[in-house]
Amino acid sequence: MTISLGESRLKSTPKILLCLAGLAVFALLPWTMGVYNQHVLIVCLFYTMMAASWNLLAGYTGQVSFGHAAFAGIGAYVSGILVVKAGLNPWGGVVIGTLCAAAFGFLVGLLCLRMGGIYLSLTTLGFSEILHIVINNEYEITRGTMGLQVPGLIENYSKIAYFYIFLAGALITLAVVYRLVHSNAGLNFRAVQNDERAASALGVDVVRTRLLAFTVSSALAGMAGALYGHYMLLITPHLPSLDQQFLVLSMTVIGGLGSFVGPVIGAFSLEILSEYIRAWGEYHVLVFGLVALFVARFAPKGIVGIYKAWRGKYRAATA
């Protein structure tokens, strides 16, 4: 019997090769499809970044923040405004936007240190709404609901180039999350989620652990938002909205809260599904919310949990 800490890691060479092969096939995918499907893939990668980074906070440390879309908004608007008003290079804008989101994440995390559960959720919800209102009303700076037109990251607009940029962003996000949850910080995250007092009695610096999760998660959301803004070429208050927040939440919960691949599965399946039911308008968020509610109640570990349970039964039956 093998004894392992945390989730299984990629140890065996065949598994790593399989992953690399899958990634290579995926990286070639946009060459085989039209512009519309390329766009869908790019948006899938954006939501992968959002869901994976929200999962780091909500799934691994139990801090169910409703401010994740707001941090993406901070990344997008900071970068967009600096590029438009100060003439900064868009790549520099992305970096500064990411850092700003990290700084705000740190401060909100500090504010929420003594909170857990519903109180933390409500505080971050309030933060998100405040930001939303400020963006809507500071028309001179943000252009309000009209949206802020920003330049792209590359001179000659090409979906394929953006696909690779977003693929790199998603891989960076997943690598950061993987590295964190498979280090001693990952054990501390889960210990803090389970029982803060017991964790601190075992030498876990609870304050540092919670702030680390909040800051890193917000920074990753900021990066995703900034990239998204420079891809769409228009930043609107819809990016830091609760609609987006609940979409990311649904993706993570349905895919598998607290598992590494869950958010990726959730992001791709829900984004692709929502393209098919686009005719329903904004009702798809409502539908996803209801599905997420059912999943949270009846299969709290999402699609990944259902798969693992099924595989466990299959193995037991064949053993």
């Binding site: 019997m1 800490l5 001693n184 889960r190 007092r197 009695a201 075992l202 030498g203 876990v204």
Partner: protein
């Protein structure tokens, strides 16, 4: 040499005086019992020593260094480990992960293999081998108490503080536990401060007993002195 020493420890919760001017010390390498009727302030004293909350006044010195009011994780890293009276396992984590939390914060620079190996070893010491991959919420009460001790050992303590680890055990299990706790001192060289209601165990296992009553030290001395003292009998049984 005294490993830990408290002077004038006082704790008020609003108007309730949980502890008033408690002085105590524990010599290196001894097993000291901390007894007293319900509500005497035993667990409050534990919480102050372990840094769960600061005292209203008074000081705690560990190895001659003032640790009063330090946060729990810093006190733990200096070598003070405690168990909880009502066990607090990380329910969603496996037993080996539960213990590994203590290991990684004690030896943050060690490799993953070392963490796992040390965690498995701690589980073996308390007799939980075979449960490495079991989620802690599936353990029974006695196993959860063992897990508490394994986690505490994983932090590499010099002082181990046990809070009623014998509750819910039958007499054979109590005998085994006494042998086990004495072995922790004799073989691992730990100093042990032990809150316990099972008087037989205190009589057998400890060298010194501190008696708390209504937030004050009633007396301290050898187990024989304590059980024969009329003030102690009075505190427990009343008039």
């Amino acid at each position: 040499m005294e490993l830990i020493k408290g002077v004038g420890i006082t704790k008020h919760f609003g108007g309730v005086k949980a502890l008033s001017g408690v002085d105590f010390k524990v010599e290196q390498g001894t097993i000291v019992g901390l007894i007293g009727p319900n509500g005497a302030g035993k667990t409050t004293l534990f919480n102050i020593v372990a840094g769960a909350f600061p005292p209203t006044s008074g000081t705690v010195h560990f190895e001659g260094v003032d640790i009063t009011g330090l946060p729990a994780y810093k006190i733990c890293r200096r070598g003070v480990a405690r168990t909880f009276q009502v066990t607090r396992p990380f329910g969603e984590m496996s037993c080996v992960e539960n213990v590994a939390v203590g290991v990684v914060n004690h030896q943050p620079d060690a490799s993953r293999a070392v963490w796992t190996q040390r965690a498995v070893e701690c589980l073996r010491i308390v007799g939980l081998e075979g449960f490495e991959s079991t989620e802690a919420r599936h353990l029974n009460v006695v196993q959860k108490k063992k897990l508490e001790i394994a986690r505490a050992l994983a932090t590499g303590p010099k002082l181990l503080m046990l809070d009623e680890v014998l509750g819910g055990l039958n007499s054979q299990e109590i005998q085994d536990a006494i042998t086990f706790i004495r072995n922790l001192r004799d073989q691992l060289g730990l100093t042990i401060l032990w809150i316990e209601h099972v008087m037989g165990a205190i009589m057998q296992a400890t060298e010194k007993v501190i008696v708390l009553d209504q937030g004050r030290i009633l007396m301290n001395g050898s187990p024989e002195e304590v059980v024969n003292d009329s003030r102690v009998i009075h505190a427990y049984l009343g008039d």
